[in-house]
């Protein structure tokens, strides 16, 4: 429906059509703010849901960090919130596992997948490729509302009497399949599975839309090799999601069968809670293969959009073209392809055939090559730049630093021999929190600070942004560097406390330090929250192109209406990275400026396409 309106817009006299459009939306606030089919509004909906989930996920982590940092401390003061989960001043160990599980689930799926891709793919794809909206505004709306429904179910599961899912975010059966094994595997797990099934539907609806839009709705002149790297990243992320999420759906479905209909896909020869189960012939390893077939691409689904955003922001604020544009596309492509064939590196010691371990070690370590290329290209982009430290730029630089730190330790874990020792220890936790957790968060902050003016027509406060950045950046390193030490010492993850083992009797001080840093860094995020909400209403008014950027979204009005451009969609003549081109009047030339207007800076082979 929206589509026909939009096509009409292009044909009818521009100003008139725009006027009609606005009127139409002003009349129905319900359709403007709630059941909106405008990609920009849907993006904001995803963003605000994402921020809500991020604070909840962060709060859960603060709770279990208190337990880990001060195992002797009394939790009585939290009884008003946690109720029966505090038993005689102590946190219930099963609730601890539930906290860990929900923290992971929320952060990986609801924040860094839906909140990141959902926000920026939706917001930037039509704006940067020059389209009025997504290919299907209606499907896009459905994508958000499926996510919303999924969110409600996941949220409600937190309040179940038996607690939410608690088998770890990877929900390995049999633990997740058997309510006898832990109470969280009862109703909580059912809610988890239903919520995730809806979540996957939301992702697929969104993904189909992103791909279709990028392929079909690019404006005149916007060839695939003139697209900003953000769009390349979103595009390949969507492809990855479309290929891998259905496999998680299959895994979840079989788990539902095992739980509710007595099948034995994952269960075999089990005696639990005083009873021998009749299931035979199933394999828990099967679930791990299916889960990680999504689970590994998932970390790239999380990190690729962040890489795209960071590439764009680095180039804009270093006032330099991104170095090796085609190599950057190639490396995104390489990472995307390889990410589909490395999943079993999570399973080196799961009992699968060691030969498979060799194969997956080989494939895993290859993926370091395109990642390294990206890092070197970012460094080369900064080299001899003219760097403007906007908050977004600080986050982009922080992203590169964190991605290097976290990525390098992946080379240790990807080595099956070394992984024998490090598997499931805090080393793994530290590694992925840096490389996909914090880095993706930095990418997300980078995106929010950079595109806030386009989203809300106002600027976020820079000074608060700086404070927020330095606090978060410091916090991330103070939390995760010591966590590597704890991991090398063999501390297992998902442990309620380390007091039962002599091997782990040391490092109580370090755990306390990590907890304190983590809680401080979490509290620091409220600076962002204040800045975000305050700036929506009271921020300084933005200009059309506050960062002097080249991409198409900055050619729209300060507050673009539904349909994005009031008149015709601009045509594109050049790549998005003509920054500081020798001979040009300004240090940037937007994509919609034809070469005929920039004679002084044209390279020998640069001509307009007509």
């Amino acid at each position: 429906m929206a589509n026909t309106n939009i096509t009409a817009d292009t044909d009818v006299h521009a100003a008139h059509a725009h006027h009609e459009h606005d009127e139409h939306h002003d009349e129905h606030w319900l359709f403007k703010y709630i059941f909106s089919q405008d990609h920009k509004m849907i993006a904001k909906q995803f963003l605000i849901m994402g921020i809500f989930w991020a604070f909840l996920g962060g709060a859960l982590s603060s709770l279990f960090r208190i337990q880990l940092g001060w195992p002797e401390a009394s939790f009585s003061w939290l009884e008003p919130i946690l109720g029966q989960w505090v038993e005689g001043g102590k946190l219930n160990p099963e609730f601890f596992l539930a906290l860990v599980t929900m923290h992971g689930t929320i952060m990986v799926f609801f924040v860094l997948t839906a909140g990141l891709s959902g926000t920026f793919s939706n917001f930037l794809i039509p704006l940067q490729i020059g389209a009025r909206d997504m290919a299907s505004g209606f499907m896009n709306m459905l994508s958000f509302w499926f996510f919303f429904l999924s969110s409600i179910i996941m949220f409600v599961s937190l309040f179940l009497q038996t607690g939410p899912a608690a088998a770890g975010w990877t929900i390995y059966p049999p633990l997740s399949a058997l309510p006898q094994a832990m109470p969280g595997s009862g109703a909580g797990m059912t809610y988890w599975l239903v919520a995730m099934a809806l979540f996957i539907i939301s992702q697929l609806l969104g993904g189909v839309n992103y791909i279709t839009t990028v392929i079909n709705l690019r404006t005149r002149g916007m060839s695939m090799t003139k697209m900003p790297l953000t769009i390349w990243a979103f595009f390949l992320t969507a492809v990855l999601g479309l290929l891998s999420f259905p496999v998680l759906f299959a895994a979840a479905l079989l788990l539902i069968f095992d739980r509710s209909f007595g099948t034995s896909f994952y269960l075999s020869d089990i005696y639990v809670a005083g009873q021998a189960l009749p299931n035979t012939g199933g394999s828990p390893i099967l679930f791990q293969h299916l889960f990680w077939f999504l689970g590994h691409p998932e970390v790239y689904i999380v990190i690729l959009p962040a890489m795209g955003l960071v590439s764009e922001v680095l180039a804009t604020n270093a006032r330099k073209p991104i170095f090796g544009y085609r190599a950057m596309i190639g490396s995104i492509f390489g990472i995307a392809v390889l990410s589909l064939v490395v999943w079993a590196h999570h399973m080196f010691v799961s009992g699968m055939n060691p030969f498979l371990g060799s194969v997956f070690m080989f494939l895993t370590l290859i993926i370091a090559v395109p990642s390294a290329v990206k890092v070197f290209n970012w460094l080369a982009t900064l080299w001899r730049g003219n760097i403007v430290f906007t908050t977004a730029m600080l986050y982009a630089i922080g992203f590169v630093s964190i991605f290097i730190s976290g990525g390098l330790t992946g080379i240790l874990l990807g080595n099956s021999a070394v992984d024998i020792q490090l598997h499931n220890t805090y080393f793994v936790v530290a590694h992925f929190h840096l490389v996909m957790g914090s880095a993706a968060f930095f990418g997300m902050f980078c995106g929010v600070y950079h595109w806030f003016p386009k989203m809300f027509g106002r600027m976020m406060d820079e000074k608060l942004g700086y404070v927020h950045f330095w606090l978060t950046f410091l916090g991330v390193y103070l939390v995760f560097i010591p966590m590597h030490y704890v991991g090398i010492a063999g501390f297992p993850r998902r442990y309620y406390s380390f007091t039962a083992f002599e091997t782990f009797s040391q490092f109580a001080d370090l755990n306390m330090f990590i907890s304190a840093a983590a809680i401080l860094a979490f509290l620091g995020q409220f600076i962002f929250l204040f800045n975000f909400i305050y700036s929506i209403y009271r921020g300084r008014r933005a200009s059309m192109n506050p960062w002097h950027s080249n991409t198409l979204e900055w050619t729209t009005p300060v507050n673009p209406g539904h349909g994005n451009w009031p008149g015709e969609i601009p045509a594109v003549y050049r790549w998005p990275y003509d920054y500081s081109k020798p001979g040009a009047a300004e240090d940037f030339i937007p994509q919609n400026v034809p070469f005929s207007q920039t004679e002084s800076s044209n390279l020998p082979n640069e001509r307009d396409f007509e």
Partner: protein, 365 residues
């Protein structure tokens, strides 16, 4: 009262912060810094980048040196040394790359901060550079893959024929340890035979079961290959012995294994770390429920002759639980005190209660 005081002070702090924020905003409007392309903050941020590199880098090195002795567990197995070598080889390479890239990142950020009189260098691509930094990482990775693959295959090769066999079975929330006894053969097990006494569901119609013995502590001989046969009877656990650099999941329905050669007896290690009470510990390293964090067993590495003496002292499981044999003979007649769990109702429930009690006991550890 104290709560009110805390609430008021938090409120005051927030008010002060908001006021500071307002003053800062007004000041930036007054000085006009908000209108300029870059404000004074650009320089401050650039300097902070450099400081972060210097102070952060120094703090990192200091903390590493300070804690290194603590976080590297002494190694007690033959293959553990190879794993550590692999670890350190990789670590050195990573350290070099880490240092170079981080230094460049923060140094460039500082050095190329914005200047009004300057323009960035238009440098969109350079194929030679691209090829250079694609090929170099590829070669380094190839070396690491090759080394890693050799280490991995040596570790995972089949155990020698004469290896000492120990079966370790994970259950919520402890480990059950079984030795094959004199015939060096573990008897058959069936999960339907499990009850409160027969925790592994040992099938005594299999002769090989008769001399199997079950113990609380794992004993293994120093300097001899030891093959751990790993199983689980409920959910997935992970058999992890950090000092030996050994780990393998315990999977219900799928036996797994790991073999190693211990190189230091418990006494040797106690000397090395200067702790007379030192114990090797077996850790569960795969989330398995409430008592996961306390699922522990002790491993004792004996001198070979002490080990032999220890084995000789052990009594077979069936000799301490002869009831199980009587039940076996009268399998068709419903037994009164104990019976295979799944078949008959009442004793099964008894077993369930018993098992639950154990679960509760261990969970409160």
């Amino acid at each position: 009262m104290i709560n009110v005081a805390i609430a008021i002070s938090v409120l005051l702090v927030v008010v002060v912060l908001v006021l500071l924020f307002r003053i800062q905003t007004l000041a930036s409007i007054f000085t006009g810094s908000s209108e300029k392309r870059v404000s004074h903050s650009n320089k401050v941020n650039a300097i902070l980048m450099l400081l972060f590199l210097l102070i952060g880098g120094a703090a990192f090195i200091w903390s590493w040196i300070k804690d290194q002795d603590k976080f590297i567990l002494p190694v007690a197995s033959e293959h553990g040394v190879w794993i550590d070598e692999m670890f350190w080889l990789t670590m050195v390479i990573l350290g070099i790359v880490f240092a170079i890239t981080q230094v460049l990142l923060f140094w460039y950020s500082y050095k190329y901060q914005h200047r009004d009189d300057k323009r960035a260098y238009f440098f969109p691509h350079n194929n030679k550079l691209e090829i250079f930094w694609t090929v170099i990482p590829a070669i380094v990775m190839a070396v690491l893959v090759f080394r890693g693959w050799k280490t991995w295959t040596t570790i995972t090769n089949p155990a020698p024929e004469d290896a000492v066999v120990v079966e370790v079975v994970g259950k919520q929330f402890n480990w059950v340890i079984r030795y094959p006894g004199a015939d060096n053969k573990l008897g058959k097990v069936k999960h339907t035979l499990i009850d409160g006494t027969n925790e592994l569901g040992m099938d005594f119609s299999d002769k090989a079961s008769m001399d199997d013995f079950i113990v609380n502590e794992i004993h293994i001989p120093k300097g001899k290959p030891v093959l751990f046969k790993i199983r689980s009877r409920d959910v997935t656990h992970s058999f992890y012995i950090p000092h030996f650099r050994a780990q393998m999941h315990a999977v219900p329905g799928m036996p797994t294994k790991f073999w190693l050669v211990p190189t230091k007896s418990t006494a040797d290690m106690a000397n090395e770390v200067g702790n007379p009470d030192f114990k090797y510990e077996l850790v569960c390293n795969q989330i398995c429920g409430r008592g996961h964090f306390a699922m522990r067993a002790v491993i004792v590495v004996d001198e070979p002759e002490d080990y032999e003496a220890w084995v000789a002292k052990q009594k077979s499981f069936i000799s301490s639980n002869p009831d199980l044999l009587t039940n076996l003979k009268g399998a068709t007649v419903p037994a009164l005190n104990a019976a295979p769990a799944a078949e008959t109702e009442t004793p099964g429930e008894n077993a369930a209660e018993k098992a639950e009690e154990t679960v509760r006991e261990e969970a409160t550890l």
